[in-house]
């Protein structure tokens, strides 16, 4: 995901600057790690034959959409993101890889989507919690109902904070949950968790989706695992870029944030480091008969 920097939004809502190159590199790597951990691009969808038009919301630098376009040359994939930088990068990638079936455009997922009714067979969104307010979720899910064809699928993937044996990490993610709670970004009632995973199914249900299912995935990024190096880089960028958000909403001071940042990275480099994070994909179908 990349975050909204819509000027009409609440300033405090900015999670990370969406036009940041470091964030773009992080998202491209995160996309690869996530797809790998999930066991594929659409691991839970048994039958892809009825899927022709695919939309990826908040596509960032477009890794998932580009991979989809590459894997399924006969399907059309559209990616949208608020970030001009990321969309231009994704377009350049599509040209370079000769993927004529992949297109990208700048669009704010917090506004009505600029697509006609019944124009997609599958809408995908991964890790969009960072810019979605509680109030924005039902609106976006309803917009997806509108642009999906009857029988089309909406697929949402979100995560909770990682679980680690590192004091710095645990404190950082506690601050993240608290900061998100203050910015009205999360469903958690006490700021202990992000709290988005329990409500994904309900969001689909309330918007009229049927045949709702869920599948969970995990990334083990403990020291010595294949994912450790990638996740270390991810965390290094992510927690750095988050600092202004933390300070802005008042969950910490710049000084404490700096200290915790260094502590977290040091603990992650320790050979005793254990870390894991769970995420959940929930998907549902727009009823065939409206």
């Amino acid at each position: 995901m990349s975050a909204s920097n819509n000027a009409s939004g609440d300033e405090k809502a900015y999670f990370i600057d969406a036009e940041n190159v470091a964030e773009m590199a992080r998202l491209a790597m995160q996309d690869r790690l996530t797809t790998k951990a999930m066991g594929g691009l659409l691991p839970e969808q048994a039958n892809l034959s009825a899927i022709h038009d695919i939309l990826d919301i908040a596509c960032g630098p477009g890794a998932w959409a580009l991979d989809m376009a590459q894997a399924f040359p006969q399907k059309r994939v559209t990616g949208i993101d608020i970030s001009r930088l990321m969309v231009e990068y994704a377009q350049a990638q599509a040209r370079e890889k000769d993927l004529h079936n992949a297109t990208f455009q700048v669009m704010d997922a917090l506004n009505p989507l600029e697509f006609a009714d019944n124009s997609f067979d599958l809408v995908n969104a991964r890790f969009i919690t960072g810019f979605m307010s509680k109030a924005a979720w039902p609106l976006l899910v309803r917009e997806c109902t509108r642009i999906l064809r009857p029988g089309g699928i909406l697929r949402l993937t979100e995560c909770e904070s990682p679980l680690t044996n590192s004091k710095g990490s645990e404190r950082m993610y506690e601050m993240l949950a608290q900061a998100l709670a203050r910015a009205d970004r999360i469903f958690s009632v006490d700021g202990r968790h992000i709290g988005i995973t329990p409500v994904l199914g309900r969001l689909l249900h309330d918007a009229g989706f049927v045949a709702i299912q869920k599948m969970s995935h995990v990334i083990d990024y403990s020291f010595g695992t294949e994912a450790h190096a990638g996740c270390y880089q991810d965390v290094m960028t992510f927690l750095k870029l988050l600092q202004p958000f933390f300070v802005n909403v008042g969950v910490t001071t710049q000084e404490e944030a700096n200290r915790l940042y260094l502590q977290t990275l040091e603990e992650m480099r320790s050979e005793n480091f254990c870390g894991i994070f769970f995420f959940l994909t929930a998907w549902g179908m727009k009823p065939k008969e409206a």
Partner: protein
Amino acid sequence: MSTPTDASQDENTYFIDAENAAEMARLLMQDRLLTKTMGGLFPQQIDLAHVQRILDLACGPGGWALDVARAYPEKQVVGVDVSQLMVAYANAQAREQKLPNASFQTMDILKPLAFPDNSFDLVNARFLTGLMPTSAWSKLVQECMRILRPGGIIRVTEFEATISNSPSAEKLFALSTRAIQVTGQAFSPGNNIGTTAMLGPLLRNAGYEQVQHQAYALDSSAGVEAHHSQFQNAMTFFKLLQPFLVKLGITTQEEVEILYQRAMEEMMSTTYCAIMFILSVWGTKPA
């Protein structure tokens, strides 16, 4: 899981009385729910062709072990638990269901396991958090290494605290997590239990090979299939947990009773949403 009542243990680690019939009924229901959530008795990736002798650690009333014995009549299943009540129940069930390939015995898994070297092809353990001090884990997986034959498989399944949209239930979950921390059973230095984070490193550090994992989500939101049984589970679990929480001094009887009533009401509401993440990790003893 059921928890030790061994008097030699620190009293504070007693979670719930292991000889309690309500706890036994809860564990039976939980066993069924877990197996269903996990899509079966074993992960699909495990090749059972060479698995003959199976051990289930802290088997409780034997739900999983009995199911395995029924599904695989040619395999031998042994279950151990610290609770005499649960072991007697499981043995009676094995007789009643005519499962001569299932047997159960009382054993405290915090002590050396009373089995010879190289005597099992697969060792299974589900939901031991709550009876395991963090320091006991590496000893246990080493004991499993000893009793497994080369090429044998260990498989451990643990959970993290439920995440919900209910304020009182969240407070109750937070209290339980706190209890696990106070008793030295949590790996997280923050607000979590954290057992799932260390399962992979635990097996790799003990020398197991080909360590793999699989995540599961137990959704107990209103309107989903598991809601009713998870509600019953929570109703029993948090009732039985109350004395323990009070004894630890992290709440008062009055406070926890009010919290319990409110949490149960919220769990019955049509807007209740809750999910529990579960992780299975398995690995092979080097051949």
